[in-house]
């Protein structure tokens, strides 16, 4: 008989002595053990496979112990639902793909982007909208050329329950024609110092993952391009299928093995959320690295109708770029941390200064900014029509007069000249209130 079919096998040596240990053993024709189950009156205690020794132990409380190694090949273990995993040591773990710890973000500046949650808006304070070459929030710039208009502003319309307080909203004014050199996009420039360890431009280039929350009134496909300064591009697409509904998008980009990727204080990576491109820039294929000149034919065709309609809306927040092929929870940084990261590129605020009168109508003052800026900044006080300097009298400041002379700048501290409407006595000390001073060291 080669096959035995039964409905029940019971190890019941002596029904009158229920405390006896009982076994079920399966052996082959040579008498070797294929499987042995050792039972106690309280339940199964051990299971031996190819041995009478315990391979798996099950105690009376159904706790299971594996007495040797467990190996999972390329399979995925899912639906592990427990309040705690303990006794795990990391010594043997080479790579762990973990999306969160304690249902929160992992630690340590995983997000290479700055102001991904759109909280910081030094220029507009969430009240003023901007268009071409304007920053609706810090570090995110609207770029377009064409007959249409993109208008951007910080908003409090955010995905429910995700812990965000702000997003960027773009609104369209419909274009007429689309010329070859036209384009419409929201761009983020990343300093090479923040991407240098990703080894782009070499065979050791690392995979990165971009994730973000988005909603829009126009359904269709949209481009998201990762690039350097225009010679290497990789564009992926996401789809808005349900209008006006927040969705999370996760896009993985393999590392770029060639090209020039700055690791200095210049542009390392650039990220473009695209809406439409003229024939100079439209073209190419998704999901592959392209070698291009000035982004030409590097934006694959999209199906959205954002720019051909007026009052199209598009929202984005929770934008994160991290190493690896998993889109983890958005990394939360404190407001103070994020603000300082932004201030490396732009600072705006009221200055209280001390200085002296110098030559005709010149007030030279020492200025301290909060952080070391990326480069010596361009400066402006064009909105400042009420700043004053106090000496023996009060002197009004001229707008558009700030300048930093002769590299009198050490990164976050320098000498700024302001023009006054009347002359301050030369070389005498004075104190100034500069109401709206701006310093910019943006990347592009």
């Amino acid at each position: 008989m080669s096959t035995l079919r039964v409905s029940n096998i019971e190890a019941k040596a002596d029904a009158s002595s229920p405390t006896i240990d009982e076994k079920v053993k399966v052996t082959n024709s040579q008498g070797r053990v294929l499987m042995q189950i050792d039972g106690k009156n309280s339940g199964i205690t051990t299971i031996g496979i190819n041995t009478t020794s315990p391979v798996i132990t099950v105690d009376a409380n159904q706790n299971v112990t594996f007495n040797s190694n467990i190996s999972v090949s390329t399979a995925t273990i899912t639906n592990i639902n427990t309040t705690r995993i303990s006794g795990v040591t990391t010594a043997g773990i080479t790579t762990a793909y973990i999306t969160s710890i304690n249902e929160g973000p992992l630690s340590g500046f995983r997000n290479r982007l700055i102001n991904g949650d759109c909280r910081i808006d030094q220029r507009n304070n969430g009240t003023t909208s901007v268009t071409a070459n304007g920053y609706p929030v810090d570090r995110w710039i609207i770029k377009y050329v064409g007959s249409g208009v993109l208008t951007g502003i910080q908003t409090t319309d955010v995905p429910t329950g995700q812990g965000f307080t702000n997003a960027v909203r773009l609104t369209s004014t419909a274009r007429s024609t689309l010329s070859s050199g036209d384009f419409y996009q929201l761009t983020h420039y990343m300093e090479g110092n923040t991407t240098s360890d990703l080894n782009f431009g070499s065979s050791a280039a690392k995979t990165v993952t971009l994730s973000f929350w988005v909603k829009g009134s126009r359904t269709g496909t949209y481009d998201v391009q990762l690039a350097n300064t225009g010679t290497r591009t990789y564009t992926r697409q996401y789809t808005i299928s349900s209008a006006n509904t927040w969705q999370k998008v996760v896009l993985t980009y393999p590392g770029c093995p060639d090209g020039t990727w700055l690791t200095t204080n210049g542009v390392g990576f650039s990220i473009r959320f695209g809406f439409e491109y003229g024939s100079t820039y439209a073209g190419g294929t998704t999901d592959t690295w392209l070698s291009r000149t000035n982004f030409e034919t590097s934006f694959p065709s999209m199906t959205n109708t954002f720019t051909t309609n007026s009052n199209s809306t598009w929202f984005i927040t929770g934008i994160q770029l991290e190493q690896g092929n998993i889109g983890t929870d958005f990394e939360r940084r404190t407001y103070a941390q994020e603000l300082m990261l932004c201030q490396r590129y732009y600072w705006q605020g009221t200055l209280f200064t001390s200085g002296y009168g110098d030559t005709t109508n010149l007030y030279s003052a020492t200025v301290y900014l909060p952080v070391v800026m990326r480069s010596q900044p361009a400066v402006d006080n064009s909105a400042d029509t009420s700043g004053i300097v106090a000496n023996a009298g009060l002197y009004n400041l001229s707008a558009s007069s700030a300048s930093i002379p002769n590299n009198w700048w050490n990164g976050h501290n320098g000498l700024v000249n302001f023009t006054t409407t009347t002359q301050i006595t030369r070389w005498t000390t004075a104190y100034g209130r500069i109401n709206v001073f701006k310093a910019s060291a943006e990347l592009l």
Binding site: N294, D358, Q376, A378, D380, S400, I404, N406, N407, T425
Partner: protein, 97 residues
């Protein structure tokens, strides 16, 4: 958007300008790392940003010269007193006049 540029008078003891005023009011330092200065250099060379590309449209451009720095007017005795925070009456009192 096209701008014009005007050199800013040098700050003593320098004798050469080290920054340039753009027509929108921003003062651009002569720092090679500053992106606005990089755009200024392109403008000097006759390039214009068209779309995402720099296109040479002229032989080159020249910034406006800086405004001359006038010599400070000599201070009157009264201005000198004001700079010292004194009134004439207080000075008289100090001198017992």
């Amino acid at each position: 958007m096209s701008f014009t540029y005007k050199l800013v008078a040098p700050h003593p003891p320098a004798t050469e300008p080290s920054c340039v005023r753009r027509s929108d009011g921003w003062c651009i330092p002569f720092d090679p790392d500053n992106s606005e200065y990089q755009k200024y250099l392109k403008w000097l060379d006759g390039y214009e940003l068209q779309g995402m590309q720099w296109v040479k449209t002229s032989e080159g451009n020249t910034p406006l010269p800086p405004d001359p720095t006038p010599e400070p007017e000599p201070l009157t005795p009264q201005q000198k007193l004001e700079a010292a925070g004194l009134s004439i009456e207080e000075l008289k009192g100090l001198l017992g006049l």
